[in-house]
Subunit: 398 residues, 2 copies
């Protein structure tokens, strides 16, 4: 089989098992994203190791699947942004800021304490705490979309808090590295902050003033799928700019891009097209790929207690911290716990921090395994937890 | 910039220039596919060499773009199949068979003669002729979709003829290699033929009896984009089977898969979703990638005459041969020429044959350059040629 046919075969298998597992998941009243995550784990190196099957000789295969998966999470965040309105999100700025802030402070502090308890140096313990600070809200966004709760107060507070969370963790990391690397230059930290402000100001201004005009210009022209392609181009550019200019996560850029198109007159057609791209092909690959990239077997017994500790601190710290922040901002207890639960899932940013820590010699192999395990567990528990918390009477719609 | 951001940037550039060039193309009353092909040439190694820009360090980039492009041509052929009906295509079997047959015999014979004229051995000359036999109908299909002529008698005859063409060229190549490799085993040729029959019979039966039932089963289930994903899975499997089981081109499999879904009750929703995937993202990448993979600079002056000769023979032979076949089957002269023109564009199969010839030592570097140039020119002249031939009164609709 040629490398390209192997690629097609792998895509066919991934799409088939993802949709099947997602459907089985709904049969037991769980969000389909749970089944898609779990089936990825089965296909991954932990069990079936599908990327390295005997008939697979395509060395680019893992890389290609990874790239499609990453496009998938961008599409997912764009779709989440598209469902909201900028003004609605702005109205929830207070709860977002408080939940984001407390949702970083509490798990980082608890992680620090845990690190000291496990005998780490104070600096290494602080770094461990920081890896517990970063939320990845894509799984929660998908779950809330499935529960039709994304546009509730909780959903909007959650997405806003995730943006604040991203900003805070990156600032914290820069501050930490600046202090640690010796220089302790206050200018370096100011520069990190300035880059974020530049990116956010530029992307919001461009989105509010330029995007609607370009959409109106393009829409009537004889360009097949013109607006959809324009949205993809802008989503790609925002994602690049978020990371390259702002120093933030690419998914934050994709989310902002979606938000900017939510005011577009072509919104409905765009939603249909984006949904076809996202849920027809890319997003299932993203969910399955999370499992594909984890190898449960490398988790030795000696790291088990560390894993249990880190995971407990990660879940309790985030749920409690973000929950308290939301409560302080005036959410009901019920809404606060729902928002806190939505912040539990971790993702790329935590892993990126951990890999920076490995480079700096502050995170060892056992801790890295435990952090990867924590990211996986926190991601898998989030959908059923949200589902259970949203069971009873609906929260107030805004 | 991380490798993934480089990938996103390249996608953004390709999509932007493709849509812009496509639009400019329509301004001068040409199909947009012409502009997308030409702009690919400018971005490719002939001029800007975009994949190797200074800031690009992603070694997988070319491979990833290639894979997306190949998915693009599969989607394009699926969409073309979806627009037709199996029964309509069957009604045009006679014209398809005759145009396909004559469209192979004439250019192969002319190419043989040309090879002898240029001093090749009889065997090498025959092989050169064979590389001129293979049509790639995706560009013509796209042009006819834009001209709203795909469902005319000409469009359907063309797509059917392309399937016959694919069958004939593969059979001819197998026959040639079997004879040339010494064995001259009649069984090897029968086996090639049997594989095609097995693939065609199995895929049509599966498509007629199983696919509609599965679609009816899936459609009402709570699976987001369930039917669209199913169609993608079956398209991938048909493409794999066409090449791996049938020994034919993957695009023939994708076309058959689309044809099978054309009878589905969910056809309209599927068309919208597939169109978003195809024209929003993948197909523009395919068109641009054709240009990206060609380097005009490697065409030395010494091969120029060979290029001119091969290209002339390729265009005249295919247009004349397929045209005569269509006329013999009862098409008007006008329709026959239109069908012949639609068969002119060459593609992957010609290049695959040429690379087999290089392996066998029957095609040298100069001939290979000339064949690549011929594939490019025949592809670029097809859209404006079809556009001009379809200018005057519309042909009879079936």
């Amino acid at each position: 089989m040629t490398p390209f046919l192997q690629f097609l075969l792998l895509l066919a298998i991934i799409l088939f098992v993802a949709k099947l597992a997602g459907y089985l998941s709904t049969l037991i009243h769980q969000p389909s994203v749970l089944g898609e995550l779990l089936v990825g784990l089965l296909l991954g190196p932990s069990l079936l190791d599908i990327v390295n099957l005997p008939f697979i000789s395509n060395e680019f295969l893992g890389e290609s699947i990874y790239e499609l998966a990453e496009v998938g999470v961008l599409l997912l965040m764009f779709v989440a942004g598209l469902e909201l309105h900028f003004s609605e999100l702005a109205r929830n700025a207070k709860v977002s800021a408080l939940a984001g802030l407390m949702g970083v402070i509490v798990p980082v502090s608890l992680g620090w304490g845990l690190g000291l308890l496990f005998g780490l140096t104070p600096v290494a313990a602080l770094f461990l705490g920081m890896t517990l600070g970063a939320t990845s809200v894509s799984i929660s966004a998908q779950t809330l979309i499935e529960l039709k709760m994304l546009r509730s107060r909780v959903g909007m507070g959650l997405l806003g808090a995730a943006v604040f969370d991203d900003i805070l963790v990156i600032l914290l990391l820069s501050l930490f590295l600046a202090l640690e690397m010796g220089g302790a230059s206050v200018w370096a930290v100011i520069w990190v902050f300035a880059r974020m402000v530049i990116f956010l100001a530029a992307s919001v201004s461009f989105g509010l003033w330029v995007v609607p005009r370009v959409v109106r210009l393009i829409a009537p022209l004889p360009i097949s799928q013109g607006v959809l392609t324009l949205a993809l181009i802008i989503m790609f550019l925002y994602s690049i700019a978020a990371e390259f200019v702002g120093g933030m996560a690419a998914i934050t850029g994709a989310f902002l891009a979606g938000l900017m198109f939510s005011r577009s007159p072509e919104k409905e057609r765009l939603q249909r097209g984006m949904s076809a791209l996202a849920y027809g092909l890319f997003v299932p690959i993203f969910f399955v790929n999370i499992g594909l990239s984890v190898n449960v077997r490398t988790l030795g017994v000696e790291t088990l207690w560390l894993l249990v500790g880190i995971t407990a601190v990660a879940i309790v710290g985030k749920l409690g911290g973000a929950g308290i922040g939301a409560r302080l901002a005036g959410f009901t207890w019920r809404e606060s716990i729902q928002l806190g639960a939505g912040m539990v899932s971790r993702g790329e940013v935590g892993l990126i921090l951990a890999s920076v820590g490995v480079q700096q010699g502050m995170v060892n192999a056992a801790e890295l395994s435990a952090i990867v395990g924590m990211v996986l567990i926190s991601t898998i528990v989030t959908p059923p937890m949200l589902r259970a918390l949203f069971q009873r009477p609906k929260p107030k719609e805004v």
